[in-house]
Amino acid sequence: MECREVRELSDSFLGGELQTETNHAILHHVERCPACRAEIDGRRQLRLALRTAFERSADLRPRPEFIAGLVRIETGTAAPRASRRGGMKWLAIAATLALTTVGGYRFFEARLIAAAVGDHRFCALGLTTDGQEATGITSLPEAVRQYEPGFRVFEEVPADEIPTSGGPARVLNRHSCVYGGRRFAHLILQYRGIPVSVIATRGAAPVSLGAVAGHVSTARADNLTVMSFHASGYSVFVVGALTPSDLSALANAVSGDVVRALAKS
């Protein structure tokens, strides 16, 4: 094989695109030809430099929350995107579902959900959509003092770090908020890279939740999984854009802790 031919084939050689015999002919040539050896080495270095530059470039790096949020395509909700997020719609839906379930309704209305979004979407931040301080949102200790002594349990339970069989969850925020005239204890957790809500409200156990304290029921609503249980006069909901199998590890861990703590209080 001549130098000209080796040069022409060298990229295909590096890409592993050639047949064994041709590879051998090139290797045989470069053993005796320093110029072609240097040429092939140079091309190999350039490929490596390109790959490394791509891997290291900060401009090309994805936001970690975008990558983490891609798991949500399974449930049909879009992954969280930088500037076009529509707020925390799931908070509203969770609260709406809680209201209707505690009230004994089997279904909740789309109209009610739509109305809820505007009121409740930024409750974790204490802001309404127009940036004003939202009414009804208080710290959990304040809610315990003024409205709902039973919420004391949720100041510490579940703990800030919750070990589950599906990985740890972390409590990011605890507050109390009002939705539809009903007061909730609301905990925002980070679990498997996405936010999950735990909301609790005082109310009689609806039939659908079952008579056994801590028994976890599952429902799907608007691409969310809602796992609920009842304990000592409180209904508790664990809500997130995860599959029931993914969310159940967290719901079971929360249920165990909350049932024990409420029984003691």
Binding site: D11, S12, G15, G16, E17, E39, G42, R43, Q45, L46, R47, A49, L50, R51, T52, A53, F54, E55, R56, S57, D59, L60, R61, P62, R63, F66, I67, L70, V71, I73, E74, T75, G76, T77, A78, A79, R81, A82, S83, R84, G86, N223, T243
Partner: protein, 184 residues
Amino acid sequence: MAEQHIAGGAGATWEAFEAEALPHAERLFRLAMWFERNRDEAEDLVQETMVRALQSFHRFQSGTNCRAWLIAILQHLRSNRRRARFRSPIVFDADDQIAATPFVPPIPQMLTDEDVLGALERIPPRFQEVIVLCDVEELSYKEIAAALEIPIGTVMSRLHRGRALLRAELPALAPGRARQSAET
């Protein structure tokens, strides 16, 4: 695409998808980001690629190159979007017209990331595409041909021409600069 429903995205399919496809998301994003130069566009593209991939994951043959399959979906979406943006066809293949190979300078040593990416950026997009898919994503000629929906011969001629253009764009003084920085 605020919300999309996945008909078959449950159970075993999701488990397999999560194991085989999702780990490629970061590399897929880098590729999309390079082509689109816009974070929103790139995120949209990757997200839609993943949604489409999940929907048709039953068609993916286990044991074959999953990243190549995802890239093919991404490229398909890109060309659809391009077509939607420009109603008349904007890409014509000028490869055959570029027969003469330019002078090929030797590859300088000690190239920085900026040198390499800067040079790549300066060559025409259709050459960038094949070089990135071949050298960065390590796809085979056959996989590139499938992803870009062009004949394998065109892949090879674009690579040949693109590499020559890329080398011509690399800073010629890189060895001198390397020496200089070693001295300081």
